[in-house]
Symmetry: C2
Subunit: 191 residues, 2 copies
């Protein structure tokens, strides 16, 4: 069965977006640097990390807020964030307008979205996107791996990747790749 991997860029102080994020300001104030390793002069190591993450991803689960910030008027063109890779959007209410066929709107929670994503991911993995999705999925035991790209900046506010958990969770670091723009760390969740 497909593994579920949460893969996020995070400032050293734990933020995945800065304050005041919106569709017009998707990274939030002062957080553009979080994505320098992707967009702004990546090294060969940065590119290899990204390539591996994209190649292994067979389905995506994201929250409605991530979807709304990036989609709307064609943010991803005719497909999804990874072309025709299926995307399951967890939402309280399915939208009434039509979106490209890669998107499935799931109104019965993150567990259901992850199950549907696993069923389509084949021998690839499910990418769980967004702090809210991870904070919901992790305590339910639905996350197998956490991949964080720690960026050398203190943003000082915004949305944290990790908020209060009901109990501690042990991890095992399975890889570490350091580049000037990020420290790429992969952790397996221990059960």
């Amino acid at each position: 069965m497909a593994s579920v991997i949460c893969d996020m860029s995070m400032s050293l102080d734990g933020y995945v977006t800065g304050p005041n994020d919106s569709r017009e300001n998707p990274f939030g104030d002062g957080a553009g640097m979080l994505h320098d390793w992707l967009f702004n002069d990546p090294t060969d190591d940065d590119r290899a990390v990204l390539r591996e993450a994209l190649d292994r991803c067979g389905a995506i689960v994201m929250g409605r807020r991530s979807f709304d910030k990036n989609e709307g008027d064609g943010g991803w063109g005719d497909g999804g964030p990874l072309g025709d890779t299926p995307v399951f959007v967890v939402t309280h209410h399915a939208p009434t307008r039509r979106y490209p066929a890669v998107f499935t709107f799931v109104t019965d929670g993150v567990r259901s979205a992850i199950e549907q994503a696993k069923a389509t991911a084949g021998d690839k993995v499910v990418g769980l996107h967004g702090a809210t999705m991870m904070q919901q999925g992790l305590p339910l035991g639905l996350v197998d791996e956490i991949s964080v790209h720690i960026v050398p900046v203190l943003i000082g506010g915004g949305t944290r990747l990790f908020e209060t958990l009901p109990e501690g969770i042990a991890l095992e670091r399975v890889s570490a790749i350091a580049t000037p723009a990020a420290t790429h760390l992969r952790f397996r969740v221990r059960r």
Copy 2:
């Protein structure tokens, strides 16, 4: 002039102690693993990281809470945490009982404590210990380097190393050493 370095072990979710820390439970609930790289079967790399941190430390600044948790009835014996290395304890009120001579109680704030520590550190560095001290010193521009030992665990609550800052701060990662028990990262604060 001596550099000021904050050197702390931190869980991946950003905590330096777990919930309910006290003198009897100095690490807090579920946070003992934060110090495995020091105490519980360290690798040669872990030992080298620790040795370098100890060797370069010429003076320590800590808050009253760290002091109280560890000292009291001889927690550090006749000296301080690093033997005869001077320790400046930031406190609102100097204690009335006597403590070993390595301790100086500073009642006029972290800036004063750091200045006094720099004056005694010679060609070594000042170690700034504790989340509160760092959160006070960093916005004042008094911290030159942040050394974090990221431990593969999610504690889920307790004291965070990084809380809200008045504004973003750019860093430069100057070293990265990965061991099973910790990812040792050093960052220079950019001004």
